[in-house]
């Protein structure tokens, strides 16, 4: 039996836009993810999927509820503690790839290693390996605007894997890709999951992606559906 790597209980989050306009993004949501799981979070737009993913990635904190990541209670964790967990235990893949435009593919991947505390020679070696494994050996010195959408997402994936995190959080990873490239990316994610036993939590609208996942969490109006 795999151990629980993410356990969130009754997560609540309200965003105050103005004095009278408040949005209850999460209204008491539970999620449990075992190590090596390949989980999809699905639900309509504005249901709180991305808010949940941001919380799981320690980019935001819940107003109420508890969140335990790999045995550590992170619910009330301060920013100066959270960055270490983000750097070493969590990898992010975003919908819009979000590569830094001023940096090459190699430098974008190496950047994650820098924040993870890797030495520069080690960083370069690992980044080249990862880009190679993504079939991008001939694209390492290209800037993001010189790469196709699929190539950019593979660079983003390599960047997420740089510090060998146990959890990979992906927010609509195929949202901006055509169906063939989407399938290619999903297959890469599944392969990583099988070969390295890395845990994947994927927010998606795409039924094909959801079908590929072992577990599906349905969210509606900030709660478990």
């Amino acid at each position: 039996m795999n151990k629980t790597i993410i356990k969130a209980t009754q997560l609540k989050k309200t965003y105050t836009l103005t004095k009278t306009n408040k949005i209850q993004a999460l209204r008491g949501l539970d999620i449990e993810v075992k190590e090596g799981d390949f989980t999809a979070i699905v639900g309509p737009s504005g249901c709180g999927k991305s808010t949940l993913l941001h919380m799981l990635g320690l980019l935001d904190t819940p107003d109420e509820g508890t969140l335990v990541i790999d045995g550590i209670d992170t619910s009330k964790m301060k920013e100066y503690e959270a960055h270490r967990i983000r750097a070493n235990k969590i990898g992010f893949v975003f919908q819009g790839f979000n590569l830094i435009p001023a940096l090459t593919a190699l430098e974008n991947v190496m950047l994650a290693g820098k924040y993870g505390g890797m030495k520069i020679t080690e960083r370069k070696k690992r980044a080249l390996e990862l880009l190679g494994s993504m079939g991008l050996s001939d694209r390492v010195n290209h800037r993001p605007n010189e790469l196709s959408g699929g190539q950019q997402q593979r660079v983003a994936l390599a960047r997420a894997l740089m510090n060998n995190p146990s959890i990979i959080l992906a927010d609509e990873p195929t949202g901006e890709l055509d169906s063939a490239t989407s399938l290619e990316i999903i297959n890469t994610l599944k392969k990583l999951n099988q070969e390295h036993n890395q845990t994947f939590v994927i927010v998606t609208h795409n039924d094909e992606v959801a079908k590929a996942c072992k577990a599906i969490l349905h969210v509606r109006d900030g709660r478990n559906a």
Binding site: H54, D60, E79, R84, R86, P101, A102, L111, A112, Y115
Partner: protein
């Protein structure tokens, strides 16, 4: 570092304008600072000299050498000898100063019309072992400072005198109708000595006597009286005898418009000055080293405040332009900050990246400004005879380091703003 340059390159015009702003500030700082350095060096040299001796003026004379024409405005050699016996005094040197050019007495305004320090003959008492406590001798550009071993017609001249009259060591220079040989040219000081002709005090005394009819007649009467023997004198009527005896008492050595006193090892200059003041308060004005030093300090403090204050204003403006640029740059790069935070960047890492970027802007602006400032100072130094800028490697290096630090300081606030950005807010910009 590569990322910093690429980020700057992304907004070329803005980066260039910011760097230009800093460069102007640093340019002003380099030019003003190098001028201030040079002048401060000169002032400190002058202060070092003037505080290395006790200056004695005859009572009733003005500080100007040109005001003392009457016999009462001289320090008699007897007085100087008595001062030499005051406890703590090492040596006393008389001094004579007069204008290099003869003053046209029919046109007294001719002096006041000239700017700056007029060219001056400085008579030096070479027979005493007086030595300024802080400054044994002047820095020389060429040749040497006159000594008692030189012929009495030897002179050492100041930098400006040499330049204005195209003189070099070995040349003959006519001073008030007499020929003198140049044995040395002093280094530029930007103060009085640049306009000095240093000569044996007896030569200067004689030139002064020749220039002042009253002294001239005194000397002539003295010369005539010297030919009258004591035996002949005794036969003369009393009134005539007294007049001749008075004329006989005139001595060249009594012509001392001022005197400089040095003190013995282990003695304190101000204490010795006070002792002299106590004993000779009726005959002389005593200027202690401390008092002279304070006067110079006050003048140089005002000067420095004016020069460095104006450069500082330029730098503050430059600093604000860095802050402005960095705030703009950071608000444009909110998304990047979010990505970096998601990748695990700590607040410290984000803050140091942006601070360093501001530092690099400051550094580039500093290098350009320093380069242009140094270039202008060098050109001005070579185009004009007066070298008014001092460009030391230490100062120039310091200016560049300062511009880097200025960038860092200006970058701190925007960088902290960036580092405190909540990751989720930055991510939501995506």
């Amino acid at each position: 570092m590569k990322e910093i340059f690429r980020n700057m390159w992304r907004r070329k015009m803005r980066s260039v304008l910011t760097i230009f702003g800093i460069a102007i500030g640093i340019f002003a700082f380099t030019v003003m600072g190098s001028m201030s350095l040079k002048i401060n060096k000169m002032i400190s040299g002058g202060k070092k000299y003037i505080t290395g001796q006790i200056t004695i003026m005859p009572k009733g004379s003005s500080a100007s050498a040109y005001g003392s024409m009457g016999g009462s405005s001289f320090l008699a050699v007897d007085t100087l000898n008595k001062i030499a016996e005051v406890e703590g005094v090492q040596a006393v040197a008389g001094g004579v100063e007069l204008a290099l050019k003869e003053v046209d007495l029919n046109d007294p305004s001719s002096q006041s019309m000239s700017f700056g320090m007029p060219a001056t003959i400085e008579g030096m008492d070479l027979e005493t072992n007086f030595e300024n406590r802080n400054w044994a001798t002047m820095d020389m550009k060429d040749g040497h400072m006159i000594t008692k071993d030189d012929p009495t017609t030897a002179i050492t001249i100041g930098y400006t005198i040499a330049n204005d009259n195209s003189l070099k060591v070995g040349d003959t220079f006519k001073v008030r109708g007499k020929d003198f040989q140049v044995v040395g040219i002093a280094d530029q000081t930007l103060t009085g000595p640049d306009q000095y002709v240093f000569m044996n005090i007896n030569q200067a005394r004689q030139l002064l006597i020749d220039a002042v009819p009253f002294l001239k007649s005194l000397q002539e009467r003295s010369d005539e009286a010297a030919n009258i023997s004591d035996a002949s004198l005794a036969k003369l009527p009393e009134a005539t005898r007294l007049q001749i005896q008075e004329a006989k008492s005139f001595k060249l050595e009594d012509i001392n418009q001022m005197a400089a006193v040095s003190w013995k090892d282990g003695e304190d200059g101000d204490t010795v000055a006070n002792r002299i003041k106590d004993q000779f308060k009726d005959e002389a004005v005593v200027l202690s080293p401390k008092k002279m030093g304070e006067m110079i300090d006050k003048a140089s403090a005002i000067f420095n405040t004016m020069i460095l204050g104006s450069a500082l204003i330029a730098l503050i403006v430059g600093g604000f332009s860095i802050i402005n640029t960095m705030i703009m740059s950071i608000s444009e790069r909110t998304k990047e900050i979010g990505i970096k935070k998601a990748l695990g960047a700590s607040r410290k890492a984000i803050a140091s990246e942006y601070t360093l970027e501001a530092g690099v802007i400051g550094l580039i602006g500093g290098l350009i400004g320093m380069g242009l400032g140094a270039l202008l100072a060098t050109i001005l130094n070579s185009k004009t005879s007066a070298e008014i800028f001092m460009l030391s490697p230490g100062f120039l290096g310091g200016v560049v380091a300062f511009s880097f630090v200025l960038g860092i300081i200006a970058g701190v606030i925007p960088a902290i703003k960036a580092s405190r950005m909540k990751a989720v807010d930055a991510i939501r910009e995506l």
